[in-house]
């Protein structure tokens, strides 16, 4: 019964596969230009955790498993997967006919080499913590052996944040950030000019996954319709919008909220809002006074006016949302709801008095690189000052704030951040932020709150999905009631395309397959 969902989903897909109705590009050809916000450094999908890398690399590389449109695990390069009854091994059979961009057919030796590389340099290699080893009994079979049964293994493995992508065996020893750009995806690298653009071209030797008829999530039946796709780095929001308006760019990410209204009147442009892009959040420091006192943290929580914070953070494009999952997700729980958006100054003042608060500074650690975090901090400062909290801003750049936030004694009380990829992947990924080692709320003396810890263990190890979801509910409740972190709400990001672009469905990462021009 474990991983029932995975097996079921795959079973259905297998049964319904291999039929005639698969997606076919209505129009083949053309050159598509996407305006990307951030510079891309390396296309090494195993060692880079930035959105800018994923934007491009997820179109080139594929893995054994991935996630579908609704974030359920599905098979991609694997044709079949069998889980042993004792849950101590997984046997993957590779999809036949798959070839790398260099023309070589995919075999299990490539999978072994890729997993070997990932276990050495892969950023999220804790996926393998419960794995004993892997082997390739024959050219098309790959077996993973577990040390202990881990019900959440496939969920972790199928994550798209830093997936175990499959590369040719000879790339096994490529150093971190230097993976050769040869994958199995529908797009292959044509040219990369760091700081300027990356161009992908259609890979004509691509073999689509016939278990599906349509693209779904990062998997499914994928077809490259354009001749080439260029990701152009355009860092200025205004410039991206202007490029879309003139038609220089066929689609863009991150349209500034202020421009959205103007674009609404433009018949040549389609706006594609991406709800729940991230949870705008403030992380408390439970070691540094005065926020080491739970009552001070609760006072802060009590006074916050989330509408004001989110309005300033996003220029008005947001949804109120409490906790660590979104209403449309299977993980969504309603525990701890009453802690959110209380706007209760009297309660806050009372809590402060109980805590004996005497005007010690509360340092808000934020950065200028992400204006939503910066603006949120400005509003929080003002709201805290209104109840007599001596709130100070500490504005640094993003790398510095990350480094500071990882130490409890570097002089901060609330760290402003945004949790994006993890909530999209599900509660297990998100709550890892608040679990050992190095829980972000900085538990005193590195001793995790035992209630948080117990709920986290249950979340990871209980056998059924329902039990794990209930554990998540408990964890969320404890975290919110003890005010370890302050989720402000969910930020909406807007992508947009020209009106003649079809098949470009908003997703965390732009997918270039099954997208085409209508004229």
């Amino acid at each position: 019964m474990r991983a029932a969902l995975v097996i079921a989903a795959i079973g259905v897909m297998t049964a319904g596969g291999a039929q005639a109705e698969a997606f076919k590009c209505p129009k083949v050809g053309g050159s598509f230009t996407f305006g990307q916000e951030a510079n891309v450094n390396s296309l090494d999908q195993m060692t880079s955790n930035t959105i800018s890398t994923r934007n491009i690399a997820m179109n080139m590389f594929e893995a054994l498993t991935t996630r579908d449109e609704n974030n359920n695990p599905i098979l991609d390069l694997a044709d079949r997967m069998a889980e042993a009854p004792d849950h101590l091994s997984y046997t993957f059979t590779l999809r036949p006919g798959v070839k790398f961009h260099n023309g070589k057919p995919l075999t299990s030796a490539d999978v072994v080499a890729s997993w070997d590389r990932y276990s050495k340099v892969g950023l999220d290699r804790q996926i393998f913590d419960a794995v004993a080893g892997w082997e390739a009994p024959d050219a098309m079979t790959f077996v993973v052996k577990m040390k202990t049964a881990q019900p959440t293994f496939i969920e972790k493995l199928s994550s798209f944040s830093i997936p175990v992508v499959i590369v040719p065996a000879e790339a096994k020893d490529d150093p971190p950030q230097q993976l050769r750009s040869i994958g199995t995806g529908p797009w292959q690298l044509a040219q990369s000019v760091p700081g300027s653009f990356v161009t992908l071209k259609r890979y004509d030797g691509y073999t689509p996954n016939t278990h599906f008829e349509q693209r779904t999530g990062f998997g499914g039946y994928k077809q490259a319709c354009f001749d080439q796709v260029t990701f152009r780095i355009v860092t200025e929001g205004g410039a991206r919008v202007a490029g879309l308006e003139t038609g220089e760019l066929n689609a863009v990410e991150d349209v500034p909220t202020k421009s959205v209204d103007r674009l609404k009147g433009n018949a040549n442009v389609k706006l594609l809002p991406l709800n729940n892009w991230w949870i705008q959040i403030g992380v408390g420091n439970a070691t540094q006074p005065p926020t080491d006192d739970v009552r001070v943290r609760q006072a802060i929580q009590a006074v916050l006016d989330m509408d004001e914070i989110m309005d300033a953070a996003t220029d008005g494009n947001y949804k109120l949302n409490y906790g660590f999952a979104y209403p449309n997700q299977p993980d969504y729980v309603t525990t701890g709801k009453d802690t959110y958006n209380q706007k209760n100054a009297d309660k806050a003042k009372k809590l402060l008095a109980e805590a004996g608060y005497k005007g010690q500074p509360v340092v808000l650690l934020t950065n200028k690189d992400y204006s939503s975090m910066y603006n949120a901090a400005l509003v929080v400062q003002e709201q805290l000052k209104a109840i007599g909290i001596n709130a100070e801003l500490k504005v640094v750049d993003w790398p510095t704030s990350v480094q500071m936030s990882q130490k409890s004694d570097s002089g901060w009380n609330i760290f402003f951040s945004g949790w994006g990829t993890q909530p999209a992947l599900g509660a297990l990924a998100t709550m890892a932020f608040l679990a050992p080692p190095g829980a972000q709320y900085r538990p005193k003396d590195d001793k995790d709150d035992p209630d948080v810890l117990a709920a986290w263990r249950d979340m990871s190890n209980l056998p059924t999905k329902d039990e794990r979801k209930a554990a998540f509910g408990r964890m969320q409740q404890v975290i919110l009631e003890r005010a370890y972190v302050f989720p402000f709400g969910s930020l909406t990001k807007v992508q947009a395309s020209r009106a003649n672009v079809a098949g470009f469905v908003p997703f965390r990462i732009p997918r270039m397959s099954n997208v085409y021009f209508t004229n």
Binding site: A242, K258, A312, D315, V379, E382
Partner: protein
């Protein structure tokens, strides 16, 4: 020293059209800066989310920004900060630039090592060095001043040194040396006063560079700590709204331009009057 040469100089300056124009422009900014606490009614960091993105109008002279802060308050206080930074950088340069320049121009043994360090600092593209220093020290007003001082002192020192090299060989200085006067005394009474004219000219241009570079650093997010209103900060925060709310970047941008132009005109005037030989140096 008699009063009349100084008076004559001032009279000549006041008759110099460019100098007077520059002075007038710069005075506008100085007055804004000096009167900031009295001519603004709203705290420049006061948020008012409901009044965001108001274009300039009778209610909001310069409009409001994305968080509803008054741009009038912000630019006026920004003027104050720009002037403070400019003055601090100029003073630091006057002291240390003169010191380094005079020592290296006067003492042969000190020349080579000091000038090598000078050369190394000047070899960096100015803005990158300033970025590096502020990144190390962390963004704050004091650190920006320090960074700008480090970037510009070598340039000032070089100008002072050039004058000192010439003065050192002058007969009256040699005479003083022969008469057994101490080095410190010679530097103080004979050399430095005579090197002042080019220094003053340099410092007036330096004020302009300091204001400009500070704005650039702030614009890149490395200047004075936000939400401190500086012109660069205001423009950096406003750039993402430049199409829909162009006044946010335009107002501080124009003020910045006026300041720099005023100082440049002032410098031109000073140069024409104080040191006509210098016209060939920019």
């Amino acid at each position: 020293m008699s009063d009349s040469p100084a008076r004559a100089t001032i009279r000549r300056l006041l008759r110099h059209r460019l100098f007077v124009t520059g002075l007038a422009l710069f005075l506008i900014v100085l007055v804004l800066a000096a009167l900031a606490p009295w001519i603004t009614t709203v705290d420049p960091t006061k948020l008012s989310i409901r009044a965001k993105f108001k274009p300039p109008s009778m209610d909001f002279v310069f409009g409001t920004d994305n968080l509803g802060r008054s741009l009038w308050s912000r630019t006026v206080w920004g003027a104050r900060l720009s002037v403070e930074i400019g003055v601090a950088v100029v003073v630091l340069n006057a002291i240390f630039g003169t010191l380094v320049g005079a020592i290296s121009g006067y003492f042969r043994w000190a020349d080579a090592p000091l000038m090598r360090i000078n050369d190394a600092l000047m070899a960096f593209p100015a803005i990158l060095l300033a970025i590096g220093i502020t990144a190390v020290l962390g963004p704050s007003t004091e650190n920006v001043i320090l960074a700008l001082a480090v970037v510009y002192i070598p340039r000032t020192a070089r100008i002072v040194r050039a004058s000192v090299l010439v003065l050192r060989e002058m007969e009256y200085v040699q005479a003083a040396v022969a008469a057994g006067a101490g080095h410190a005394r010679i530097l103080r009474t004979h050399v430095i006063p005579n090197a002042l004219a080019p220094l003053i000219v340099q410092l007036s241009f330096l004020f302009a560079y300091a204001v400009l570079t500070e704005a650039t650093l702030s614009f890149l997010g490395l200047g004075a700590v936000p939400p401190t209103p500086t012109w660069g900060n205001i423009m950096a925060e406003g750039r993402q709204y430049m199409i829909e709310a162009p006044w946010i970047i335009t107002i501080p941008g124009v003020l910045l331009m006026i300041t720099v132009m005023g100082l440049n005109l002032l410098g031109d005037g000073l140069r024409d009057v104080l040191d006509p030989r210098l016209r060939l140096q920019a």
